[in-house]
Symmetry: C2
Subunit: 364 residues, 2 copies
């Protein structure tokens, strides 16, 4: 995509695999340009640039600090291990860089609040890397579930995010190391499940979460697999369940039933294909005479997308950054609010697990 | 279907709506014939016969007892309210009638054991009315989930059975009346969810069940909606969740994820269509380069069925009855065992609900 003169200039701190996908997304987003990459080792950064065919114009730094000190960098995408977020995200904000932070955002909401305060006080945009929220299918799903006639009151939401960790992953990946990504599967993949439940409830926080007693940890205590149920105040009878795991076949199910409709989306985090995505949906279903079949055929709704969801995420983030630069806007509070609520619920699930699966009240 | 001379002669006690479907199934099954119907009122029985176009040869009785006293009746299909099962099912067994009993089988396992003992001591076949177990799709699903390579170890099973009760249903249907069907939604639709979980675990009983705190009861205390999680002994990390309700849009989801595969079946109790049924299935799924899509397309597996599942149920039941009559076989213990395990788990869910959603050990 040709670079617009007003494009937001991105730096990437860290050369994790996910950075390759976001580097491509930055290239695809019309209002963004990849300006610099940094690794703790300049060799690693050079290799990343070569492997990903980055233009020779992309600056290459051998330390995160150097990248953050470059005044031409407007925004930073930060795919570092979670335990490093607090230090580097706060520094990025202080250096007036808009911050696209990989999820999970922090080890707990206390750390996240320090990051968000740094962004707020420095007038920079914050957003976490939940790409699926930016797919047009997600907007279509939302239109549907908030249609009182077609869907009605939400009764049950079930969300999974599982992946089969290879032996190598389970032994040495940063996501199973207590000093790097202490939240394990709850952070790496459970973040999506929790985010999907909150999204489906229009970000109304549950009052209580309860981990189920199927927790599996590795020898260092990091969560490899867990489930939980979420409950709202007594007048709100929605029940939601999540299951996240490094030990199961790839799944990313979002299934919801309301008083008038139901839907199934089995690839909500990463669509099967890049340019179009679907979900199944039924409303007003009942049985034919004698109950020997259904009166409605489940509808497959397909939504096309001109840009992949990660490029739409970058575009939205860069749009916010542009609005701040051009019009002196305040950062959009929508994105930090979403991240904070997700972190609050994640903290409560973690606490419930640590307490032996006792019910835990969700903090505000 | 032309009646075979050896066809098992069925009587139906009770003219509930479901009896219409099973009357048709008896007509469709090649080894069964509808011989008699009974209602507490002979007028009601006559109307049922007329409405369903029953042959003039079908005997019509104004009491259940008269039908059970007819020596030509080999087998009884009994769609009575659950609270009447103990009395009439035991009497039917004593009268040497094979017993196809509508679910839930009894108010608790104590009552069911009395029914099963009566069947056992009188040498008659027992089966409950779970039709979906007899669909060839169910056999196909089972082949798949017990394939260690394609599916692997089962990690999570989620099952729902929900229907939107009309105002009339919620006010006056027998399924919401404490003196008729005291188990409410747990019995009427939760039976399927529990049955599906047990089926998926090859009838290995969970050790603990835990109702979730989203229970909704009516003013008379009957359960209208509830959820629960099931857990096995520590070495078995499967987690299963159920949700059953009279207050939600029609849903009957069975979703499972194993170490190597996953499947989704959204009409497992009553297929969308009568003659063929499908499910979605993936094995070995992972992401393509850069994680911008999946490496496998989910496969839709379709299974055709020459007879509807309820006719296959009648056929299997009549086959067991024939084997007893012709060859002096003992009744097949498979079917009472399935019912008893389902009832045991249902009892534990009920107890967990009654205890305020505390974990409950499943009895043996």
């Amino acid at each position: 995509m040709a670079e617009s003169p007003a494009a937001i200039r991105f730096g990437i701190t860290g050369c994790a695999d996910i950075a390759r996908k976001v580097a491509r997304a930055i290239k695809l987003a019309p209002n963004a340009t990849l300006y610099a990459i940094a690794s703790r080792s300049i060799d690693k950064a050079r290799k990343f640039a070569a492997r990903n065919g980055l233009s020779g114009a992309v600056k290459i730094y051998g330390s995160y600090e150097q990248l953050l000190d470059d005044p031409c960098v407007d925004a930073v995408y930060m795919p570092l291990p979670t335990s490093l977020h607090l230090q580097w995200a706060v520094l990025a904000a202080r250096k007036k860089k808009h911050l696209l932070l990989e999820k999970p955002t922090a080890l707990d909401v206390g750390d996240l609040d320090r990051i968000l305060e740094a962004c707020e006080s420095n007038g920079v945009q914050f957003m976490d890397g939940s790409m699926w929220l930016h797919h047009p299918r997600t907007a279509k799903l939302k239109d549907l579930i908030f249609d009182p006639k077609l869907f009605g009151q939400t009764d049950i939401i079930r969300s999974t995010s599982t992946m089969p960790g290879t032996q190598d992953f389970l032994e040495s990946n940063i996501r199973v190391k207590p000093n790097l990504d202490a939240l394990g599967a709850l952070g790496a993949v459970g973040w999506y499940c929790i985010g999907a439940i909150l999204w489906a409830k229009d970000y109304k926080l549950p009052t209580v979460v309860n981990a189920l007693p199927d927790v599996i940890r590795n020898s260092e205590g990091v969560i490899l697999s867990c489930s939980a149920s979420f409950h709202w105040e007594p007048a709100d009878k929605t029940v939601a369940t999540i299951h996240c795991s490094f030990l199961s076949h790839t799944s990313m199910d979002l299934a919801m039933t309301g008083s008038n409709g139901s839907l199934h989306c089995n690839d909500y985090i990463i669509p099967y294909q890049e340019n179009s995505a679907s979900f199944d949906y039924a409303s007003g279903a009942t049985f034919v005479e004698l109950h020997i079949g259904w009166n409605v055929k489940v509808e497959e709704v397909t939504v096309t997308s001109e840009l992949p969801q990660e490029a739409l995420m970058v575009q939205e983030f860069a749009r916010n950054a542009e609005n701040i630069r051009k019009f002196g806007n305040r950062p959009d509070s929508k994105w930090p609010d979403i991240s904070r609520k997700t972190q609050l619920v994640s903290d409560a699930v973690k606490k419930s697990i640590d307490l032996g699966c006792k019910p835990v009240t969700v903090a505000k």
